[in-house]
Symmetry: D2
């Protein structure tokens, strides 16, 4: 990491927030039942369901986001059923075919700012109407999206409506859900989202946890037997308490919002500095991932001092880059980056 | 856990050893590269390869044992290739069909004290000799076994020989490998085992880690692309540093042996007390899992004071139970159990 | 085939019976709808359902037995559900892991004369009772079995009863169902069998068809969408009429029974000759597969004149061989074989 | 089929050509070895390899095209490897997710007249360059395409070149390969195509066979063990002779070309009549599938007299329909159709 100084590559470069670590370390010699039936996991699940306002739901903790997505697909779809997703979606591009490895097709829909619409969903459904084709059964969206944008309440409601109409399940990848919740531009509460989606996962790894995501299922079908699916995919942790304790800490006093707000304000500061220096963005800065555009020469220079991903080359020797902030991003790193671009 | 007092149910009831926790918490704000390419993971991998004496090998860290087993199967076998295992093996019984879910058949071989022999392997191979059948390609054994026993060096050498002869891979599930290494009855060093197996996993969860296992591959095929397999199965952790740091701690000053020795001595003390009280064992006590036999009435009484699994009913109202000790088992718990059975 | 003269290797060495061929050739220029929705397939399905006495059932035609078995497994089981079968069962040994390739585990139960019992089924169910294990959901038996034996009505009723009790599906591989139906020792009618099983396949390939099997589902679940499963596994034939026409011919005037009776009487004649010559059988001759025991030297000599499979070596230089007759086996072949062994 | 008179729905509405039927019926009582190792299959395979000019290749016969495609994917790809295909490709749309059911992702590339280009392939490869993504490994094209068009030699050479450059396999779905070979616009011989592709399948079902396709692999890898893959997917027919005999007949005196030429000339006649009547086509008529455009009202009227698929609605109340001819299409049907549109 050394050669390029502070890294804005992602929001999982650091370990965990001290309060989360403390929760893990506390009571380490106290014995708990294994495989997620421990007391911390039960308390954390209850807190999450309360925050979501879905008392009858189920919560299952897993180690990572790809595992969450693939277990949900394996558990909720019949072999011939498929998923509709934006082609920028994590399951489409960055999971090495994890969904297809469970046997299910993913329909790639062109996105606008990382988002898809109810009209696009309806189109896929209407063109898959005979038995020689797969049967679309799930819509996958990410909130916030892979491009840092967010769905409005109206947009999610429209997707939920088309899902009800077409017998589809709405599933939300919430790896960065907290980042969406704290955005000024957000108008969907956690409770609203939890009631519109059939299932979603609430991300820990990218918001201050050491690792771990919480899969939330709104109305568990009695025969779903989700735990057997978890076990079969290697997703049931022996010491489930470890994830439970982290989420208990994150839910206590809304720590998850506090951490997300820290990341968000750092992103806002970065974006403001970049804008003031006269640069533009590929997507409107909305959450903790921002995508400024710089001349390629400037990018090369910035890369000698900071870590980040180059996202896409543009015409006229311009380049989109991605900058990500986290609960741990210090103000000094932001100031240093802004100072650097002011000098470009 | 309360109603039955101290639990001997398993070796993952507690959290992690303080030194492991300290390693996780240390330098939490220092940034590391994601997905297992961080410095702690690299140092831990190097330590493990050194301890194994296999310089060219590869180490990959995953969250749990089922995940380790299923990724190895998915990565190393062609679709029509199968695994030979004891019917008491973890992949046969306790992984909810995880191997089959990757598309591969498992041949169940009757075991003797949890172990299988080269002759049994040869028999499966010789009866699967035409193209209408699967092609056996991997032998799976556990060291220590699911019944607390261990393979001798001669036994593993014989299995390795039949594997070479029949073009099979030898894979060892080392969820409790450390428990085997510290047994007085053990004559296979880690280095010998690592050089006899084509791949194995070295367990952290059941020996003082918070979670995590290290998959060790002796001679990685250049095109194996194991990391893509890990990603596809959801096994690549974003903050891979978390497992790396734990294994770095476990390897430093051979902490893994210290912890295993603690568990082992507690098991020996338990076994001695039970033997002195006149009871027998279903399998010779060898590692940290022991299987004493008590009258059913005694078991019922013991269950009011301690947690443990009843393993198998026997004739004459006898019952085999399983008792497991760990790095965290206090001497007082052992003494209390022994006191209880002396009073039976 | 030349070097060993007439072949008793199996019941698919010849082409199809003339009446079946005629049905295929007839009206070849008449157009039919594709993918099994043609008129011959519909008529054949109706005939089969009538013969089975299950008016609400569904019939689907596929090209071969392995395809039938794997589509049924894929369509009827959830990912964590498994199949209980005799270890001599076709799906266990001779389908190259086709069931496991759909992701499902098969439990191998020791057999007695190719058969398993309700008690064995109950034992598997009772030992797979927690969420870390697969959930047994289907019992697979073959009628007639891979060893030429047959289940009695009482035996199948007992299996059907344990299935109802334990929420299991009873599935029967009827590759050689006709051979069972015409045995003097049989006491299960097609109608009884069809009403005891949840699904079965009725074999054409081994009883005079060119190829093709009929999957019969007693009470199709409205959402089963079996045709989509067929399509996904490559089992939906474009010219489905080809299989339909064959089964229509086989059902007309009970041709399937006539053909099976021919094969059966040839097997009886073979068995009688072998018995008269003083030889014994590994399994009681019951259908068109018989398993006589000869000295190895005699087997070597017989192999110079006839084709057949050597099945299993026995002590004292004895050998079990398998002889199979078909609708096309001429009496001369049987007489030649018997003459040969009389001279041994 | 009755209500709409003659059907132009597809090229598998009829049975098989008389010469093919004769081949199946001939020598029906002669015994052959099972599972594709019979003499007719061996002779047919040799004829095909000769016609292809690839002496070292392998030929495997299967019942249908989806089965051919899915077995090739299962046999030739590692779990994390994917296929690039036109979104109009058969594997993308009309196989109910058969490829994904083997665990592999398909990249959908926008097509132009059913075809994709080397530049598109290069783009997919260049955007899948890290281990979090699948690894593109196969290019799938259809010749002729699903839209009746054909690739030129230059186009296939360009695809083959990008495949060599990027370590991809070129696989051609030849369900209607014969239709391409006889087109006046074709400049790729069977031999050239067979030497440019790593594997392809040569279609029988849609060119006069009862059913059956021949998978041709140019340079079989010694460890490919294709027959085991066939068996595992249910694609190994017991009476393999049935497909062998059909292909032997199709190859003899180039019957496959004769049949394709019949279908082609019927399509030309149809197209000429339609054009003369003043109508246009969505794609240039090239092979036995043509796509004329009519006013919707005319389509409704035509549907009362003929069978065909409506393909896509256009603006101004126009509609694309698909008309397919076959070896069995009588001139009278063509004339009747043309007469009908002249009257519109």
């Amino acid at each position: 990491m050394a050669p390029s100084g502070f890294s804005f590559k992602n929001d999982y470069s650091e370990g965990a927030h001290p309060v989360v670590l403390e929760a893990i370390c506390r009571d380490s010699r106290i014995q708990e039942v294994g495989y997620g039936e421990d007391r911390p996991s039960k308390r954390a699940a209850e807190s999450i369901l309360n925050a979501c306002g879905i008392g009858r739901g189920e919560v299952h903790f897993v180690a990572g986001g790809t595992l969450a997505n693939l277990v949900v697909a394996a558990a909720m779809l019949k072999p011939y059923e498929s998923i509709i997703a934006a082609e920028s979606g994590h399951i489409c591009l960055h999971e090495a075919g994890a969904i297809e490895a469970t046997g299910h097709k993913v329909h790639y829909v062109p996105h606008r700012d990382g988002k898809i619409t109810d009209a696009q969903v309806r189109r896929v459904v209407s063109t898959h109407n005979d038995e020689h084709m797969v049967c679309p059964r799930m819509v996958y969206i990410s909130q916030s999206t892979e491009l840092g944008t967010i769905y409005s309440r109206a947009e999610i409601e429209a997707l939920a409506a088309v899902c009800r109409e077409c017998n589809l399940l709405l599933y939300i990848d919430g790896a960065r859900l907290s980042a969406a919740l704290v955005s000024e531009q957000n108008d969907v509460t956690l409770e609203q989202l939890a009631n519109l989606a059939d299932a979603f996962y609430f991300g820990g790894t990218k918001n201050g946890a050491l690792f771990g995501e919480a899969i939330v299922i709104r109305e568990p079908h009695p025969h779903l037997e989700f735990r057997r699916h978890l076990k079969q995919r290697g997703a049931l942790l022996a010491k489930g308490r470890v994830v439970g304790a982290q989420f208990e800490a994150l839910m206590t006093n809304d720590l998850y919002l506090t951490l997300a707000r820290h990341a968000h304000s750092r992103a806002l500061q970065l974006a403001a500095g970049i804008q003031q220096a006269g640069y533009h963005f590929a997507y409107k800065p909305t959450t903790n991932q921002i995508f400024p555009i710089f001349p390629k020469a400037a990018v090369t220079k910035l890369l000698t001092k900071f870590g980040f991903y180059t996202w896409a080359p543009l015409e006229n020797d311009q380049m989109v880059i991605r900058l990500v902030t986290s609960w741990a991003t210090p103000i000094e790193a932001v100031e240093a980056f802004v100072a650097e671009i002011e000098e470009l």
